[in-house]
């Protein structure tokens, strides 16, 4: 079945849903690199007009990647909840946009999530402005728990990211303490290992667990190693709170990451069996990002925003504690500048939240993209208004291991203050108990550096 729309006297034809979705996508460099972007502004808007007229039901009968060829498509189709979909089953994509912006309240959106396919959320995002993406996401509520409660109204959490170029334990510990003193770490204390080996991962897991125990912090830790490395660490008896993995929206990109859906299920079972959560059992942590499928040559001619939304269908199958798009990390050939990064970050957050995920965003950029700290401030503030579950906290916004710029502990404090947000309630109680003040000029005795080997 094809689609068509006439604009400015020219009739634009789109052969299939995959093509229509790609041509309707607001411009970004990765879609141009893949050769799927609209050829003109008029073609893009024609595609958006045609897409607005597509019934949501149509997505149930035309997959952007064939069912037989891709296990993510099978996960999406087989897992679709027709009863949850019923309230919007009569709507077109355009009608769905109006419905979302109009009468959909928090309870309605929560009930709807299992009835939405990721492609439906991607489609409606393509015909929304930033303000629309913010307004609807702000009405979504997703609450997850492990050793504290994330996603409650009025909260904004922070992943403390204490990376070190050589995995030096004292370097990691120093960055952890710096972050805690600036109110960060309620989402997770999560370190990216420079070396992805089982022994190194266990060493870092033990360090983070020791810091958490010494300071008695109601949070969770994670070493963001490959899932197979973490499974080996679990088997060796290491203190694993959360299992991390990078995932994508096609079978091919997941294969390029060295994972399958069954492997993720096995890893989740292993983490659940440890029973380390005190207030809940959301044990998975996923990262995603637009462009990863093209980078892995596994995009099937689908635009990068739609594939990104499909990654959220993978994530939600495992009831994660945390999911975040690493929006500006991949480089300018996928997202060229601050404008493209900003839109992509808000799209990803919107789609993830609509699909029922505890969505955070790594607001970030590399030095070869056309972006700077001003762009990060703008996106962080927009995401704060949109109710983002968590953001990253990196010392001084400068990740000295991964060589990119993310948000800092200071940035998180600033956006919390500007929007009246607080950390997770258990973490707020801990900050009060140990005596971390809001002016942040002293180290309270309970957080003595010597307690974690920084004598």
């Amino acid at each position: 079945m094809g689609f068509a729309h006439t604009i400015g006297g020219t009739r634009f034809v789109f052969d299939d849903l995959r093509t229509l979705m790609a041509r309707a996508t607001p411009f970004r460099s990765g879609d141009a690199l893949a050769g799927v972007a609209a050829g003109s502004g008029a073609e893009r808007v024609a595609a958006q007009c045609a897409l607005a007229d597509v019934p949501l039901r149509h997505f149930l009968s035309e997959a952007v990647i064939p069912y037989e060829a891709d296990d993510v498509t099978r996960l999406i189709i087989d897992g679709h909840d027709a009863r949850a979909f019923a309230p919007v089953s009569h709507l077109t994509v355009g009608g769905f946009r109006d419905w979302l912006l109009g009468k959909a309240d928090t309870a309605t959106l929560t009930a709807l999530a299992p009835g939405l396919m990721p492609e439906m959320t991607a489609a409606v995002a393509k015909i929304m402005r930033l303000a629309d993406l913010v307004a609807v996401a702000a009405r979504c509520s997703v609450v997850t728990r492990f050793r504290n409660t994330l996603g409650l109204p009025g909260t904004l959490s922070v992943r403390l990211q204490p990376n070190d170029p050589t995995d030096d334990p004292r370097g990691v510990a120093a960055a952890v303490l710096d972050g805690l003193l600036l109110g960060a770490g309620d989402a997770v204390i999560g370190v990216n290992p420079a070396t992805d080996s089982v022994s190194n991962t266990i060493r870092l897991l033990q360090l983070l667990d020791e810091v958490r125990a010494r300071y008695d912090i109601p949070t969770q830790s994670c070493v963001l190693a490959h899932v197979t490395t973490t499974m080996a660490a679990i088997a060796a008896g290491a203190p694993v709170d959360l299992v991390f993995q990078s995932i994508g929206g096609t079978q091919g990109v997941n294969e390029s990451f060295g994972v399958s859906l069954s492997l993720l299920a096995e890893a989740r079972d292993a983490a659940l069996a440890l029973r380390r959560g005190t207030v809940g059992c959301n044990v998975m942590y996923f990262e995603t990002g637009q462009g990863s499928a093209l980078s892995a040559d596994a995009h099937h001619g689908v635009d990068q925003q739609t594939i990104e939304a499909r990654a959220y269908a993978v994530a939600r199958a495992y009831a994660p504690l945390l999911v975040n798009s690493v929006v500006g990390f991949i480089g300018p050939e996928y997202l060229a500048d601050g404008k493209q990064i900003t839109r992509a970050g808000l799209e990803d957050h919107f789609c993830g939240k609509l699909l029922g995920l505890p969505m955070g965003v790594d607001v970030c950029y590399t030095n070869h993209a056309e972006a700077d700290q001003d762009d990060m401030d703008a996106l962080l503030t927009l995401l704060g208004v949109a109710g983002v579950t968590y953001v990253m906290g990196v010392p001084g916004a400068d990740d000295v291991m991964l060589n990119y710029q993310s948000t800092s502990f200071h940035d998180a404090l600033a956006v919390r203050a500007a929007l009246g947000k607080r950390p997770a309630p258990e973490f707020v109680a801990w900050l009060d108990r140990v005596g971390i003040g809001t002016d942040g000029v002293a180290i309270p005795p309970a957080l003595s550096p010597t307690l974690i080997g920084l004598g």
Binding site: A32, A175, G396, V400, N403
Partner: protein, 247 residues
């Protein structure tokens, strides 16, 4: 209130990360803010700098190397950044001008930091040439490649009929260092080689991996490739501990 107390500042002993920056309200104090801006500006300038090929050619010529140049098909820096595919393919005229002289090919590319190529390439080559000569693998020519990605070396190496190609190229600048050089070495270069078929030495600069260590690893890899007839993931650096490792 901007400066943190001594015990907090003391954390800087343990890490190069930007810890203990102090606060101005919830923001960075002015000095810390401007320090970040300076590091970002240096990194950005390195990304957008044009390689001074005349100076580099003179430096390499002084080491006794013949010097050629080769452009990629990326017409300018903006296209180079947005179209990595263009940076991997050589200008056909430049490629045709290269002599088919065999041996070990040496390519020096701007990559994402022309600053790195300008500062680190000639000293590294100076350190490596005697070590390569000792195993009969010294290049006779340096090809200066502009708007270059790593895979451009496959085309250049194939045109030269080279047994091995060494590509020295500017790495993506971080705030810590805008001038890190990477070395990518590939056996039997030809278009279509994948990254899994290369060996890499990264973070070559005075504050990172020094020239003598990088040169020793480079020469060892070239020797192993010629002896074993392969490169990439099948070639592990299995020298005894204490010898510098591949970064």
């Amino acid at each position: 209130m901007a400066d943190p107390p001594a015990a907090w500042r003391d954390l800087r002993r343990f890490t190069a990360a930007r810890v203990a920056l102090g606060r101005a309200g919830n923001a960075l104090p002015t000095a810390a803010h401007l320090d970040f801006q300076a590091a970002h500006a240096l990194a950005r300038d390195a990304v957008h700098a044009r390689l001074d090929t005349a100076v580099l050619a003179a430096d390499l010529g002084a080491l006794g190397l013949a010097v050629s140049t080769c452009r990629s098909r990326a017409p300018d820096r903006a296209a180079y950044l947005l179209r990595p595919d263009l940076g991997r393919v050589a200008d056909p005229d430049d490629l045709a001008a290269l002599p088919r002289e065999g041996g070990v090919a040496l390519v020096i590319g701007d990559g994402l930091s022309a600053t790195a190529a300008e500062r680190q390439a000639a000293p590294l080559v100076a350190a490596a040439l005697p070590m390569l000569a000792a195993i009969g693998a010294a290049p006779v020519r340096a090809v200066i490649a502009t708007m270059a990605r790593v895979a451009l070396g496959d085309h250049i190496g194939a045109a030269l009929g080279a047994e091995v190609v060494i590509v020295l190229i500017g790495e993506r600048p971080g705030l810590s260092a805008p001038d890190s050089l990477g070395a990518y070495i590939t056996f039997a270069p030809r278009p279509g080689r994948t990254d899994a078929e290369r060996n890499c030495i990264s973070n070559i600069r005075p504050g990172g991996l020094g020239f003598p260590e990088a040169a020793a690893t480079l020469a060892w890899l070239v020797g192993q490739m010629r002896a074993r007839g392969l490169s990439g993931v099948a070639l592990k650096d299995d020298r005894p501990a204490g010898v510098p490792r591949i970064g």
